[in-house]
């Protein structure tokens, strides 16, 4: 099957197995407030670090829930706009499952400063470095797919390329946090904030916007203006980087996170961030107005030359899609 279903499948496993843990943790918090049952309250013999463990045992897999479908979307966009089959299909499928699996064992990297033992710390650190490997494999495979492809620089591909760049920055700075020594420096600073915004906004957000631009003709039966979409992309890309890159720098210099005020030495960076935020906002307005204006040309069944099944249907697809079951090819990315 195409790699987006593989990504969604891996995500489903994480959702099923991780969510109950936050469920029971929240129930315990409710019990603490309502029934004075104090598993996490030191006054009643409880342990707040236990709460942290339970919280992060869910919340780390949760971020993989966020990124895996986004990676699946990117894996659909790139072959279409390079008119080339995906490089390393099996590697990408298996790495989705590997991220889901190994992601269960790294939660302690959110708690390096909580008073854990040295053994626990280096175990979590090692596993965190391991879980980065499947993500890196995907990045290499996407780039390898583009190599010698017939590149068609349409808006969806712009977002996919931006994803690769921004996700890579986010991922590499994640390694800074995964190593204990550097994490002590950057823990609870705006470096962390910048890291996860590069992953979630630069990664998931841009993949989401790329997906919207990719499937928009299929969903709504109309094309949109490419030039305006590209301009919106420029504003978003520049605005995003202006907003979040300075946060890396001042984070290392000591700017704490979750503070509304800052020391005078951080003023320039914060002002640059603010300008970036406004540019980002303008970009969103341009994007939304462009997509809401339903006055583009009528969309054909396959405006991008994609090979997956959705492109065999009219845009938008008729009720119940296929009148008879379609013939499913062995290779979902049959470009050659």
């Amino acid at each position: 099957m195409p790699l987006l279903p593989w990504a969604v499948y891996a995500t489903a496993w994480i959702q099923v197995l991780a969510t109950p843990v936050i469920g029971i943790t929240l129930l315990m918090i409710i019990a603490e407030r309502v029934f004075h049952i104090g598993f996490f309250d030191p006054a009643l013999g409880g342990d707040p670090v236990l709460y942290q463990h339970l919280f992060w045992i869910y919340s780390h897999p949760a971020v993989y829930i966020m990124i895996l479908p986004a990676m699946g979307v990117i894996t659909e966009i790139i072959p279409t706009f390079c008119q080339k089959r995906i490089f390393g299909y099996k590697a990408i499928a298996i790495s989705s499952l590997a991220i889901a699996g190994v992601g269960y064992f790294v939660w302690g990297h959110h708690m390096f400063t909580s008073g854990m033992s040295k053994e626990a710390i280096w175990t979590f650190s090692l596993l965190t470095f391991l879980v980065a490997v499947p993500s890196a494999i995907k990045v290499f495979n996407w780039v390898a797919t583009m190599y010698k492809g017939s590149i068609d620089l349409k808006p969806p591909l712009l977002y996919a390329i931006a994803f690769i760049f921004l996700f890579s920055i986010g991922g590499l700075t994640g390694l800074v946090q995964g190593a204990l020594a550097t994490d002590i420096q950057v823990h609870d600073t705006s470096f962390i904030v910048a890291h996860f915004h590069y992953i979630i906004f630069g990664g998931v957000g841009f993949a989401f916007l790329g997906g919207i631009h990719y499937w928009y003709p299929k969903m709504f039966g109309r094309m949109y203006n490419f030039r305006v979409a590209n301009i919106a992309w420029c504003f978003l890309f520049i605005g995003f980087n202006l907003l979040y890159f300075p946060q890396f720098i001042i984070g290392v210099e000591g700017m704490p996170r979750r503070y509304f005020d800052y020391l005078p030495q951080f003023t320039t960076a914060q002002q640059v961030s603010t300008i970036g935020g406004y540019i980002l906002g303008i970009g969103f307005i341009i994007l939304i107005v462009n997509l809401f204006r339903k006055n583009g040309a009528k969309a054909t069944a396959n405006p991008w030359g994609g090979k997956t099944l959705e492109w065999r249907l009219a845009s938008p697809p008729p009720l119940e899609n296929f009148a008879t079951p379609p013939s499913v090819p062995d290779n979902p990315y049959d470009y050659e």
Binding site: V16, L17, T19, P20, V21, G23, I24, T25, L27, M28, A31, F35, H36, I37, G38, F39, L44, G45, G46, D47, L50, L54
Partner: protein
Amino acid sequence: MDHLELQRDDIGAKLGMWIFIFTEILLFGGLFLVYAVMRHRYMADFHLASLQLNTFIGALNTIVLLISSMTVAMSISAVQKKDKRMATILLSITLLCAVIFLVDKYFEWGHKISISLYPGTDLMQSLKHGYILFFSLYFFMTGLHMLHLIIGAVILIVALVKIRMGLINDEHYVLLENGGLYWHLVDLIWIFLFPLLYLVT
């Protein structure tokens, strides 16, 4: 009714129920994790606090639930053999066992509440930390289990009504199977709870 038949997917229904059961196991698993950590920390206090529990009633509840698991499994066989009367009797015994369990719980909890031995009281705050945690875990785990037991009983009541109405029959019994599976889960959780709470002395 015809359209419903076209959409029917018994394998999918059973698979969905199994996945849901895994999530429930993980839900209680979080509690078992908390129990393990706290027991390790306050080993002696847990031993002593557990003496306050009535092991006889706990054992009785265990046997009652085991019998109810057996009868619900037998009721599925009865439906498969088109024996509506037997299926009704067996499911009714299962539900009777559920009621017995709840009555036992009422007496157990009632006794603790009458001597002020429950979370939030001044008596509880005055005890040692290990005791407080043991009783917190006792009430929370058995309470959450009891909630699941009531949910399971409601599902089985619905199944019983459908058997009487002929909607569950030898060709169409996946709801009873899933209800039985859920009931087995409720039983299984109790099988773990009983030794952890009552038999640690």
